[in-house]
């Protein structure tokens, strides 16, 4: 009896893990550069940096994740969080794609790529609207 309960629990956990990892959509980074964060928080450490237009697999979030402003994603082998406002359904119009040779000629180093991605985490964005 104990053995079958144990087996059932293992199956349940396995199923849940599988459900959490399931891809529910593909979105694209819409800023010049961006980071996949270790936690759903703007100042959390970066797991990897990606460039504008990079496809991001959106996964079912872990049960512990509740912030709708952040999406749980997979980029390559890395799984982490990206703010929803930085992701688009369609591939965005990227500066790097429009002017590739010009952008490459700038020879940005890794430090600069990191900071460029970080910049968007620190901006406070707003727009005045007609009331």
């Amino acid at each position: 009896m104990k053995g079958s309960i144990f087996l059932f629990l293992i199956c349940l956990v396995g199923f849940q893990l599988k459900a959490e990892d399931k891809t529910i959509g593909i979105l694209y980074l819409n800023t010049m550069f961006g980071h996949v964060h270790i936690q759903a928080e703007q100042f959390a450490s970066s797991l990897t940096t990606m460039a504008c237009g990079h496809p991001v697999k959106v996964l079912n979030p872990p049960s512990t994740h509740h912030d709708s402003k952040w999406l749980y994603v997979r980029v390559g082998e890395v799984k982490g969080y990206v703010a929803q406002e930085f992701l688009s359904e369609k591939r965005p119009d990227c500066f790097q794609d429009n002017y590739p040779k010009y952008f490459n000629a700038l020879n940005l180093d890794l430090n600069e790529l990191y900071y460029w991605g970080r910049l968007y985490d620190h901006f406070v964005n707003g727009e005045s609207k007609v009331k």
Binding site: N98, Y99, G126
Partner: protein, 288 residues
């Protein structure tokens, strides 16, 4: 010698032997084929296909050439402003953990109260007193504002006072003073130009980055520009006495700070000067 003779005989025999393909080509009467093709009406199809291939080749070349374009002006300012922020990340110290100061709502609310609608903005808090408050150009009716947290703390600014400083910076940008002070010539020749088969010229990037730093840290704005900005603020805020008084008090606060705190003594070089702004705003005394 005997071997040489054998080799020569074999070689001459081999060279006389033609391959199957060569024989086939010789046996084909191309003129006759041409006539057949013509009769089959395949010649126009061949021409059509040739044309399509040429078109594809042309398109490919155009796309290849397009990759060597300098940015258009409409895409340029956000890029170069962000690049300057990235290059000066350590100096400006913007990569730091901070609470939500409620700046977004404060600025949106002020702009909406004053009827300034659909102004998109991005505010970057700085953890340095080196640059107190500043605005940078961006694309698509967007503005980038920089705001020093130590400066806000030193003045003990309220959210609405910060929003008023942002409004001042908004006018500086709106009136085109930053771009006017850049003084980097030849940008009109760069925007949208192409450098295919030429050496790329990135001197304008270096010049612009230097000019950005020069305005932000050394030269700032001149008296005339400050006067125009102050008058613009005066005109807009006059309809709202509470805000006008707040702005006046804010300038008084800044004046006291720059006179008493060495850290901010260069403020007058960038924004000449709070003292003059107060004079410009004050009602003229009547001489009897």
């Amino acid at each position: 010698m005997k071997n040489l003779w054998i080799f020569l005989i074999i070689f001459s025999a081999w060279s006389q032997n033609k391959t199957q393909q060569e024989k086939e080509i010789e046996s084909i009467n191309f003129n006759e084929l041409k006539t057949i093709l013509k009769d089959d009406f395949l010649a126009p199809t061949v021409e059509e296909k040739k044309g399509a291939v040429q078109e594809i080749k042309k398109e490919r070349k155009t796309k290849r050439i397009e990759k060597y374009s300098y940015p258009e002006e409409k895409d340029f300012w956000s890029f170069i402003s962000e690049f300057w922020l990235v290059k000066n990340a350590a100096l400006l110290s913007w990569d730091f953990k901070k609470p939500d100061y409620g700046l977004r709502n404060a600025v949106e609310s002020l702009f909406e109260t004053l009827g300034l609608y659909q102004v998109k903005f991005r505010i970057l808090p700085l953890n340095t007193p080196t640059l107190t408050h500043f605005s940078l150009p961006a694309d698509n009716n967007e503005y980038i504002f920089l705001m020093s947290v130590p400066f806000m703390r030193a003045l003990d600014l309220s959210k609405s006072e910060i929003a008023l400083l942002v409004l001042e910076d908004y006018f500086r940008q709106k009136l085109g003073y930053f771009n006017a002070n850049l003084k980097v010539e030849g940008m009109n020749k760069i925007w949208g130009a192409n450098f295919y088969d030429k050496k790329i010229d990135l001197s304008h990037v270096d010049e612009l980055l230097k000019a950005y730093s020069s305005i932000a840290f050394e030269k700032g704005y001149n008296f005339q520009q400050q006067y125009e900005v102050t008058k613009k603020m005066d005109q807009l805020l006059k309809s709202n006495p509470v805000l006008w008084n707040k702005y006046f008090q804010l300038l008084s606060k800044i004046e006291k700070l720059v006179k008493s705190n060495m850290v901010y003594e260069s403020y007058n070089k960038i924004y000449p000067s709070p003292e003059m702004q107060i004079k410009w705003l004050s009602p003229k005394e009547k001489i009897l």
